[in-house]
Amino acid sequence: MKKLQRRTILKGIAAAPILLAQGRVWAASGVPTMPSEVDLAKAKAEGKLTLYTSLDSKIVDSIIGAFKAKYGITVEYFRGGSADVTSKVLAEADAGRIQADMVDASDLAALLVMKDRGLLLAKQSDATAAIAANLRDPDGTWMADRLTQGVIQYNTKEFGGEKAPKTWKDLTSPAMKGRLAFFSSANGDGAPRLYTLAKHLGWELLETLAANKPIRVATPQLVTQLLESGERGAAFATNDNIAWRSKLNGKPTDYVNPPEGVPTEPGAVGLIKRAAHPHAAFLFHEFWMGKDAQGLLVNGGKYSSRSDVMPPTGSPPLSSLKLLTLDYAEYKRDRQAILRRMTDVFGGEWGI
């Protein structure tokens, strides 16, 4: 008991200077918490902002290009998997110096963790009205910006016509042995959608898929590359937008939303509470969530979270799909156990 107290005090002493320093910066800058408080002159004076994102860089480039053209403000970004983004933010928070002004990750649980740590700014947004209530935080610290479905993608030369896989079950057949691919980087960022599959369709599905010896790469972009080159024949739970782009570019691939249900993964965005560029960041947040930028997102093959933005060209409306969803508060709570189970099923490194 005595030891515990001493440690708490020591921690407090250690943390005090950082908190003080940060508090000063924060108080001095007058952080906006609603769109009307954003000062365009101040935003331009800040001149730039830093975004941490797990979104495909081609989409990010198009959005920040449009933002720069409109406001003359530069967006520098760090791009990694959602766990990369999250571990960087958390580590930087430990160091008392978060580089990011805005965070975007395809793992909602990650934003919940950041919210728990008190890192995210509670704010109002003009986009709120266009976003379904279950896709945003009632406290206003995060809101979903996009929805990604974990589809089946396949090489049409190897699995053309009749042989094309249509259901999850098709992938469990012995013909698929050694022909499958999926993704997750070493820190387990592919786990949420796989867990969504397991939760709705049973862990046996994952176990039989694992028995077909799938190759695992770090990202959906690499999955697509394996399929385009014919290195592997089919992939499970890979990003629909990446599969969509591959097909659009005339590569020998196609993809399908299986009728048993397809995992849907909301990506979400939030502002860092003690950001170095609060006005520029808020301005960018509103731009990012606005109809124009969301249109650019859709051009990149993503589904927008806004109800007033159409799906990507040639993609089915989400209402026509059986969507499998995840309770992210529950996922955040059970994450360690889930990652452990992924390690048991697939082997390899899941960061657990």
């Binding site: 440690r7 250690a14 200077p17 950082i18 830093t50 975004l51 941490y52 495909d56 860089s57 480039d61 520098e76 970004y77 760090f78 791009r79 990694g80 998997g81 766990a83 990369d84 999250t86 571990s87 960087k88 958390l90 580590a91 930087e92 430990d94 160091a95 008392g96 110096r97 978060i98 580089q99 990011a100 990650a110 963790v113 980087s185 070493a186 820190n187 387990g188 190759i215 695992r216 790469v217 770090a218 990202t219 972009q221 690499l222 697509t224 590359q225 385009e228 080159s229 014919g230 290195e231 592997r232 990652l339 390690t343 697939f346 082997g347 390899g348 490194e349 899941w350 960061g351 657990i352």
Partner: protein, 573 residues
Amino acid sequence: MTRPLQASLHHRSRWDGSTIVFCFSIGLLLLIVGYPLLWLLMSAFGIPGEFELGYIAHVYTRSQNLAPLVNTLILAFGSAIISVAFGVPLAWATARSDVPLRRTIQALVAVAYITPPYLTAIAYIILLGPDAGYFNRALQELTGATRGPFDIFSMGGVIFVVGMHVFPFTYFMTHSALRSVDVSYEEAARLLGARRWGVLLRVNLPLVAPAITGGALLSAIDSMALFGPQAFLGLPAQITFLPTRIYGIIGSYPPRWAEASALSLTLVLLTACGLMLQRAYLEGHSHATVGGRGLRLENIRLGRWKWLLLAFCLGVVFLSALAPVGVLAIAAFSRSWISGIAATNFTLSNFSEALFNNQIAVRGILNSFRLAAAAGLCAVVVGATVAYVDLRTQAKGRRFLDYLAILPLGLPGTVMAVGVLLAFIRPPFAIYGTIWILLIAYVARFVPLATRSANATLRQIDPSLEEAARIAGASRLAALWRILLPMTLPGMAVAFLLVFIPALSELSATILLYSGGTETIAVAIFRLNDLGQIEVVAALAVFTITVTLLVSLPLNWLSNRGRTVPTGAVSKS
């Protein structure tokens, strides 16, 4: 020198500018090497938190940690075997036989060593990807098989690629031993009637055995410390090694510091054991017969055999240098690497993307050059100071200082990064998230190279020259500046380049320490590869290899001016 004079010299020198440089360098060394290691040790035993002596053992009760340990040992063993199998025949061929193209072969072995191993790994994905790799597709067409025979995403694949990078250790050590063997032993054996192969096996081999063993051990140690090939080739095959495991633990959220530290400490212990083994072995097998009398060396005529040996040598340098670099060049100029060489597939756009348009790549190149230059300068200042204090003063604790400056040689980049992270993520030195943390990691990692090089340079200069200047009334600073510095400049330039080159393409520490805005070339390559932009990655790779080779040229030239380059350089990735 008389006592009063010595005393007066010491008196005069007590507080001049050089003292400040000395204190600064020593403080810096303690801060960037000692302080992170202290944190690593504490963290491995559960501090801050509950102190637990057996934490390391506890960590290995988890199969997720035990398997990487076993895999790492298998990798070390496998690459040591490859290293000997390739390094020794090549060394003998180029040192003692009349095989043609000996200089070319030696130069290509150097290229194999200097190419960052993660680039070799990417090249081998293009060459030996199980279905789409160039080699595999060629073999498929030849044999009519539906699948290529090789799978680079496997333990064998990792061992092969790592072996291709580390075999130069064995090669260079064996080569120099063979060049200095006393030929009279061979002649004696010949006179006594031994045949050519008998001489080779029963005279030459035992004489150079310590060099071979030393090379094999260095290869094993280096292979355990690498990160790139393990990440690029091991992760897709679900094979985890200690460095990639540590990366996974820290890259996940929340980061588990204690577990990562415990695994790091194990990796240090493994490397330290290897280094001690090597040292003990070399000391126990004194090669008294290997003297400097290499004068009467004559190359052995092999007759027809030489073509067979040449084929083997060319095969090895093709696999380790020509094929990887060549295939990266092909991909760099291709619209799509899958399509191979064709006029319609040719483009320069990958280079414009890599060097001008891609935000992260451009920033990465700038950061890498700045960091490598700054790290080179800092390491040279620190290294030269340590060498000076060690050789020219009687300061207390100078042995410890020297040891501290050499210590990082046994620390894998991943381990160094974990220590630096732990130390510099919190007050009073909270610099995580800035470029300074990368600079610290680079200086700490590569300061041994600068120290050894500076030490070797300083040893060649007689102290009497400085003493003469001091007696003539110059201050210590002036003696350093006007006498020692000009004389040691070429040696210091070598030390600078020895740090600059590996720092330019450092991956294993950087990947744990960079943040938004502080990306380097290696990070850009790692991230762009994740995004499947292999052609742009190849363009960046070609750029990096070209710069590295260009920078290495003066290194050769400077070293040939009688300055020694320390052997046992640590791996770059």
